[in-house]
């Protein structure tokens, strides 16, 4: 793992992504210390433009936008990462079962994954929220419900390939239990491309949550970048800063995760993107 981090830092995109994400995580962790005011604290007149006292201005109820954007880093990153991991857990389990046992298990599980992929991700999430509500955990479950097929198909493909390799045949001949072969023999070899997908899923989850927040359908008890954009819609005319700064934060996080994924991809499969023949000059 350490070797991987080193190689990641050696790629052009990887290092940029790593730095961006590191800064964002530090900001999230130390947000309460760094933010000049609390997220519910009224500190001035409402809708003040950016100034020295309030670098990102104030919102419609007189809260400091800088503090809000900083605090929001926590919820947005947390939802992104947790939803991606939940999708990995569900999709990974399905992919492993389908890819190792094949047959009926494979047919049922992979058709189910395809079924979920018919509907657009945002519609699946909205449907789940419409039926079950949107507290923090339900939100994560809804996002994971929408993106698990991506993970399932990837891990399934890996398992189908690795299943035919000699080391698996050797393990079967050695009479190792199935769980050992799946979890200790195949899984570690299947993981590298999966890590790339997890980074992409996290960026997707952040985008989805900001969309929900913007629609006013995210968990009302937390502050996230998307939720800051919901009231901003009403004040586009008088307070551009309410919309601009949270949006920039979302972009930075999504770019960071995508650069990280590009870097990881370069490490995991170094030959990808190499031009084999090319064009004449």
């Amino acid at each position: 793992m350490r070797g991987m981090l080193g190689r990641l830092a050696g790629t052009r995109y990887g290092i940029a992504g790593l730095l961006i994400m590191l800064v964002l995580v530090l900001l999230a962790v130390f947000a309460p210390v760094l933010a000049p005011y609390g997220p519910r604290q009224q500190v001035g007149i409402s809708l003040l433009p950016p100034s020295r006292a309030f670098p990102m201005g104030t919102d419609n109820i007189g809260r400091d936008m800088l503090s809000l954007v900083l605090i929001s880093t926590r919820a947005s990153l947390l939802i992104g990462v947790t939803a991606a991991l939940a999708a990995l857990l569900v999709g990974g389990t399905v992919g492993m079962l389908a890819g190792y046992w094949r047959g009926t298990t494979e047919a049922v599980l992979m058709r189910l994954a395809e079924l979920f992929q018919i509907l657009p991700v945002i519609v699946v999430v909205l449907f789940a929220i419409a039926l079950f509500g949107s507290s923090f955990w339900l939100l994560i479950a809804a996002v994971a419900l929408a993106i698990w097929p991506l993970e399932a198909r990837l891990i399934y493909g890996q398992f189908v390939n690795l299943r035919q390799r000699e080391f698996v045949a050797a393990a079967i001949v050695a009479d190792m239990p199935a769980w050992h072969i799946v979890l200790r023999e195949i899984l570690p070899n299947a993981l590298p491309p999966v890590i790339v997908q997890v980074a992409l899923d996290a960026s997707l989850a952040i985008l989805i949550e900001s969309g929900l927040g913007f629609l006013g359908l995210s968990d009302a008890n937390m502050v996230s970048w998307g939720q800051l954009l919901f009231p901003a819609q009403t004040y586009l005319q008088s307070a551009w800063w309410m919309s601009v700064f949270p949006g920039v934060a979302i972009c930075i996080a999504v770019i960071g995760l995508n650069l990280l994924a590009d870097g990881l991809n370069e490490v995991v499969n170094p030959r990808a993107g190499q031009r084999l023949v090319g064009l004449p000059e």
């Binding site: 945002i122 006013g216 004449p280």
Partner: protein
């Protein structure tokens, strides 16, 4: 060919059935009273409650309920929105053409632009040009569509006043003929551009990857060996072969687009399917939510079917493969 089309049609039917079952199963998990889950958070008059219990056979066993869920759908009955006092199917049919207009405009602008950027990015001689476009596409991809919409509204509608801020048409208009079309285009411009940026970045990423893969193909070696010029190879061999996978994905994306760009329609108050879904969710008008979700799935499946059939027409290898 007829056999291929028939086969694909037959494959699509179980898909539709499965989606319906999936929606039905999710509905069963909804907490609380099933009638309330159908109607939403409204006081239900006893007569209406009895009608719903009868129509959906709510007093019967699970398989019977599922059967009647199907029967209702086969009759084209998506239910009745108690809140809007209108049939759900009527609501959807009212909104669908508007969503179609927005999506079609966005694809007409976005797809060619995306293909162009992807092609330039993958075939350029200059590393800097590639880096510029790759970065631009990444930034475009990372910008949430609805936020880009807000920025465009702030700049072009509020500061410069070139376009209206939202809606699809003025509340009151006497324009006719060309003036009418121009008026509508002004309303369409900002949402269509926002949506086109979203599609173009996705197309550009796909196109770049697909072109790079094509560059490694054997027929490119042959073309080089024949001494064809750079431009001739790009036009004659790369553009077509690399666009095929992109067009498949875009066919699928267009089906998805029939569901309405939920967020973009909300920013611009564009009264399409997406906005209908959001309004229904906000008002807990679940009958409409379920109807829209089923409509979107059907649109995606039908669109995939059309793409597959077109593909079979264009490429004989696919027909023979089945």
């Amino acid at each position: 060919m007829a056999r291929y089309v028939l086969l694909r049609l037959l494959q699509a039917i179980p898909m539709v059935a499965c989606v319906v079952i999936l929606v039905f199963v999710l509905l069963q998990f909804t907490p609380g009273d099933p009638v309330q889950a159908i109607v939403g958070d409204y006081p239900v008059p006893p007569a209406f409650r009895a009608a719903i219990v009868l129509q959906y056979h709510l007093d019967d066993t699970l398989p019977v309920r599922l059967l009647h869920f199907f029967i209702n759908l086969l009759h084209g009955d998506l239910g009745y929105s108690y809140q809007q006092q209108e049939f759900v199917a009527t609501l959807i049919l009212q909104r669908a053409p508007r969503t179609l207009l927005l999506a079609a405009s966005a694809f007409v602008i976005g797809v060619p632009v995306g293909i162009g950027i992807g092609l330039i990015s993958a075939t350029t001689r200059s590393g800097n040009v590639d880096r510029f476009w790759t970065t631009a596409v990444l930034v475009g991809y990372a910008i949430p569509g609805f936020w880009l919409g807000q920025l465009l509204v702030i700049l072009f509608a509020m500061q410069l006043g070139w376009f209206p801020t939202q809606g699809m048409a003025p509340v009151f208009s006497r324009a006719s003929g060309t003036a009418f079309v121009l008026e509508r285009v002004r309303y369409l411009a900002l949402p269509a551009i926002t949506y086109a940026v979203y599609e173009a970045t996705r197309v550009a990423r796909l196109m770049r990857a697909s072109t790079i893969e094509t560059l490694g193909a054997g027929y490119i070696v042959t073309a080089r060996a024949k001494g064809l010029s750079r431009g001739a190879i790009i036009r004659g061999h790369i553009l077509r072969n690399s666009s095929l996978p992109v067009l498949t994905v875009m066919g699928y994306a267009f089906g998805v687009a029939m569901g309405g760009a939920v967020l973009i329609e909300t920013v611009f108050s564009w009264p399409g399917i997406g906005l209908l879904l959001i309004e229904a969710i906000r008002n807990r008008d679940n009958q409409v939510v379920v109807g829209v979700v089923l409509f979107i799935s059907l649109a995606v499946i039908v669109m995939n079917l059309i793409v597959d059939i077109l593909y079979g027409l264009l490429d004989p290898r696919i027909r023979a493969g089945r």
